[in-house]
Structure formats: structure tokens, C-alpha cells
């Protein structure tokens, strides 16, 4: 699924927080958005996911303009994974219940099979199925959140800081899982993060946001080499490089 975003503007009670953002993502590609808190990066993602109905501009998937209110079929194609697996799973529902919600809503068949398959796709044991979220570790919970997105058999995954609540050891596992899933299922990713090394690991194209503007779009390779134009990109890059070098 190709994604086109054109002059996207979003305001909250009269204050504009996304000020004309445009970018394109090819089918099967992954696009990263970096920026500091308040730069509007998550707001862009939420509007794409249909979680915000108050925006102007153009959001198109596969060349088709997305309406302000999305039809149910849209959510089969586009799914989102949130930052905090502690907050995004219902604490009183078993994993089985959490994963069967979407297939039930969409009237999908063979729900039992689908759950079993999706659990193994995210490398969770089948025994996790009748556990509650609090009985799983943070990394396992994030796998459940990814499984919940995958069960819709989407073509696009929107990832909002999917690893920033996790330890680096668990982050590595989740990033590997996301890379494998994209290769296997030819998924298109849009990922938001404040961590440049995480973004460049998973994404080939990176957009830098500050104060509601996307000030620069570079390839991960150019970012690595330092072929960047905007001062903010340079600042983010130098901070990241500085930390990687020994003190």
C-alpha cells in the first residue's frame, strides 16, 4: 500500500500543531519520523490511523483519499501499535479475548486458528493465550500488541515509539521481529520515535519534525554520512553520534 500525505494540517482548539506536513511512502517501504516531544509526530500518525477526525489536507492509501471518518474495512488494512504495552492492553481481558476482539467485529472466520497463528508469528508460546497482560513481561506484552495489529492482516503498520518503554535487550528482539514481519508480509511501516538509531535501523527514509513542520526528509544513509541540511537534523544527529562514541 502506498501512502501519500499532502499538506496535512491539524489543530487543537484553534492552535495549529501540525502545519502542512507532506510525505510519500512506497509500498513495502518504511518511513521514520523523528522529533522531540511536542513536534507533532504522533499527531500525524494518529490522524493517519483515523484516531483524529479533525484535520485538513490529504491522506491517501493506495492512491485513494481516506475520508475523515474511516469505514470499518479501513482498519483491516491499516493498524497501529502504541508506545506503552502496559497502557494499551485491557488489564481485565485475557490475551485470547484481546486478540479475538477485532476478528469478531469484522466477522472473520476461524478465529481460533487465526489467534494460534498470530501468536506463533510474534514468537509467543501458545500458553500465553489464556494469560492476562499483567502475567506477561513488557516485551511479551508488546508482542501481544503487535499480534493484535497483525490479526487484521493489515498492509500498513503505524508504529508509535514501539520500543521506547522497553529495555535495550528486549528492544533488540522487538526490532528484529518487526523487521522479519515486514519482509515476510511485505508490510509498509510508518514509525515514530525520538531515537535516531532505532529509526535508522528500521527505516530507509527519515522525516525530521520540529514545531509542526517536517523540515527535512533524508535517507538513513545520508543521515549516517551527515549529508543533512537543516540545523535541527544536524543537532539530533550529533547528539546521537556523540553518545555512540566512547567518552
Amino acid at each position: 500500500m502506498t501512502i501519500e500525505i499532502d499538506n496535512l494540517r491539524i489543530s487543537f482548539v484553534g492552535r495549529e500543531v501540525v502545519k502542512g506536513v507532506s510525505f510519500n511512502v512506497a509500498k513495502g517501504a518504511s518511513f521514520g519520523i523523528v522529533g522531540e516531544s511536542g513536534s507533532g509526530k504522533s499527531t500525524v500518525l494518529r490522524a493517519m490511523a483515523g484516531l483524529n477526525n479533525d484535520w485538513s489536507g490529504r491522506i491517501a492509501f493506495s492512491g485513494e483519499d481516506a475520508p475523515l471518518f474511516r469505514p470499518p474495512a479501513f482498519f483491516r488494512k491499516v493498524q497501529m501499535v502504541f508506545q506503552d504495552p502496559y497502557g494499551s492492553l485491557h488489564p481485565r481481558q485475557t490475551i485470547d479475548r484481546i486478540l479475538s476482539e477485532l476478528p469478531l467485529v469484522h466477522g472473520m472466520d476461524n478465529i481460533d486458528d487465526r489467534i494460534a497463528k498470530v501468536l506463533s508469528a510474534v514468537a509467543l508460546p501458545q500458553t500465553a493465550r489464556f494469560r492476562y497482560p499483567h502475567q506477561l513481561s513488557g516485551g511479551q506484552r508488546q508482542r501481544v500488541a503487535i499480534a493484535r495489529a497483525l490479526i487484521a492482516e493489515p498492509e500498513v503498520l503505524l508504529l508509535d515509539e514501539p520500543t521506547s518503554a522497553l529495555d535495550v535487550s528486549v528492544q533488540a528482539e522487538i526490532l528484529n521481529l518487526l523487521a522479519d514481519l515486514r519482509a515476510e508480509r511485505n508490510l509498509t511501516y510508518v514509525m515514530v520515535s525520538h531515537n535516531l538509531s532505532v529509526i535508522t535501523h528500521l527505516c530507509t527514509q527519515v522525516g525530521v519534525m520540529i514545531d509542526g513542520h517536517m523540515v527535512e526528509q533524508v535517507t538513513a544513509e545520508d543521515l549516517r554520512l551527515g549529508n543533512v541540511n537543516h540545523a535541527h537534523t544536524r543537532e539530533l544527529r550529533s547528539l546521537s553520534v556523540e553518545l555512540e562514541e566512547p567518552a
Binding site: 522531540e36 516531544s37 511536542g38 513488557g138 529495555d167 535495550v168 535487550s169 528486549v170 528492544q171 533488540a172 528482539e173 526490532l175 528484529n176 523487521a179 525520538h194 531515537n195 535516531l196 538509531s197 532505532v198 535508522t200 535501523h201 538513513a220 543521515l223 549516517r224 543537532e235 539530533l236 544527529r237 547528539l239 546521537s240 553520534v241 556523540e242 553518545l243 555512540e244 566512547p246 567518552a247
Partner: protein, 275 residues
């Protein structure tokens, strides 16, 4: 020695039995910067909390020695501990959003902490508070002093927390993940500020973090913890060339901007490490 910990054990009595969390940790700290790194659940925060006697009631703490500036913390009374907490050892927590009182102005909270430890009139305390806010490099301290916590950014909130901790001129600063709720650019600023203040005032710093590269840049020594044990202790400058397989594993599994990896190596945990 400002802090001496020898063979510290912490465990929790629960409905299903006894769960040990810290299993024989030893470390000491003078007027220097010591970092504790490790994954969540490795016992790094518990160790720092035990030192201030801030653990919940059901925690069982045992140690051959647990001392702050020669005072035995295990046998110290609540009254004695209150002369240490805040006054001689400041504690900075992860998220300023939850550490500040939402219904009091920032100025009044900093002033309160100054007045508790130093006495003086309300007016004096407020002036002192504004000085402290200036010291943590807040540009318009008067304006910030009059605002409420929700009106300032996360980075500003953390500066306010640091200003509060500095009020009684403590000898030790314990910072538990002071920057993990902040942006990369703000993170560096706050840590530089903490480092400057600590060196200027000759304090000891205990920096707890899960971010190895960050700690190696801002500390003198680093203790690496895993599952309640200290795996190794080394000079911060040598952290990135550490030898222990656990430390190496943690370093290797981080994605890198400059040295891209096709696939991230995953940490394999060796039961041998805990022996």
C-alpha cells in the same frame, strides 16, 4: 567513604512465598560519580532506596554493612533518617510530573524545601527559591516560580526537582533515571547540569539508568547489575570496551546510527553469570 554497601540482600515476603530481588550487592561511593546500569528488575533502584530506608514495609533488608557517612542505616531510627533524607542526600526521580505537587506553585514548593532545612521567613525562602531556580539555569526564574507544574515542560520540571534537592546543600545526590522521560536534547542538558553542580559543590552522585552509553559519558565509575547481582564494576571510560558477556551483550544489542547492523544480536542469558 560517603556510602558503603556490603553484601546487601533485599527480598519481598509475598502471598506465594519469599522473592529475593537483590542478592549480595557491594559498592562504595566517595565524592565521585557512580553509575548503576542494568535492565528493569535488576535491583538497581531497590539498592538506592534501601540506602535511604525508603523500601515498603514487606521488604526484608539484610546487609553486612549499609552506611551513609558512617551512620548505620539498618539500625537508624526514622528520626535519624529524616536528618539524612533531603538534607544530606537528595533524591531525584524519573518523572517530574508525578514528583511535584500539582496544586502548588513551583516557587512555593522549592521555598518549602529550603525552609524545612534552613528555616527563615517565607519571604526569604521565596527569594532563595528564585536563586536556586536561577542556579539550575532557568532563564526567567520569577515567572517559573509563579507557575504550576503542569504549565512547564518536562525538562523544566526536572530542573525544578534538581533545584529543590539542592536547597539544603546535600553531600550526596541520588538520581534514579532522571532523564528517561525526556527528549534526547533535553536529556543531555539535564545531565550536563547535574554533572556541573556535582563537581562544583563536591558532592557524590549515584546515577541509576538503563542507558549504558549515557552513563559512560557522565560518570566516573559504573556498576553493571543483573538479576540482583553486580556483574562487574569498571571505569566509565572503559565501559564501551567491557569484557563481561552481559555488559557486552547489552552494548551489542543496541541499534547504532553510525554502525548499522543488518540484524540486532539478541542477548543470551547464561545461568553461569549468577554464580
Amino acid at each position: 567513604m560517603l556510602v558503603e554497601i556490603k553484601n546487601l540482600h533485599i527480598g519481598f515476603e509475598s502471598r506465594t512465598g519469599f522473592a529475593p530481588a537483590v542478592k549480595g550487592v557491594s559498592m562504595s561511593l566517595g565524592t565521585e560519580k557512580l553509575g548503576i546500569v542494568g535492565e528493569s528488575g535488576s535491583g538497581k533502584s531497590l539498592t538506592a532506596r534501601a540506602l535511604m530506608k525508603l523500601l515498603p514495609k514487606q521488604a526484608r533488608v539484610e546487609a553486612d554493612k549499609l552506611a551513609f557517612d558512617g551512620i548505620d542505616v539498618l539500625s537508624a531510627s526514622e528520626k535519624q533518617m529524616r536528618t539524612i533524607r533531603g538534607k544530606r542526600a537528595g533524591f531525584i526521580l524519573q518523572d517530574p510530573k508525578y514528583s511535584l505537587n500539582p496544586v502548588k506553585t513551583i516557587g512555593s514548593q522549592v521555598a518549602e524545601s529550603w525552609r524545612t532545612h534552613k528555616g527563615g521567613s517565607k519571604r526569604q525562602a521565596l527569594e532563595a527559591a528564585i536563586n536556586l531556580l536561577e542556579m539550575v539555569k532557568i532563564r526567567d526564574p520569577r515567572k517559573v516560580a509563579a507557575s504550576y507544574p503542569h504549565e512547564v515542560s518536562g525538562g523544566m520540571g526536572q530542573r525544578v526537582m534538581i533545584a529543590m534537592m539542592l536547597a539544603p546543600d546535600p553531600e550526596l545526590l541520588i538520581a534514579d533515571e532522571p532523564t528517561s522521560a525526556l527528549d534526547a536534547t533535553v536529556q543531555a542538558e539535564i545531565l550536563r547540569l547535574i554533572e556541573e553542580l556535582v563537581s562544583e559543590r563536591g558532592m557524590g552522585l549515584l546515577l541509576i539508568s538503563h542507558d549504558l552509553p549515557l552513563v559512560s559519558h557522565f560518570c566516573d565509575r559504573v556498576a553493571v547489575m543483573y538479576a540482583g547481582h553486580v556483574m562487574e564494576e569498571l571505569k566509565a571510560s572503559e565501559l564501551l570496551s567491557a569484557q563481561h558477556p552481559y555488559t557486552r551483550g547489552l552494548l551489542n544489542c543496541m541499534p547504532s546510527l553510525m554502525h548499522p547492523k543488518e540484524r540486532l544480536p539478541v542477548l543470551t542469558r547464561d545461568p553461569e553469570w549468577l554464580k
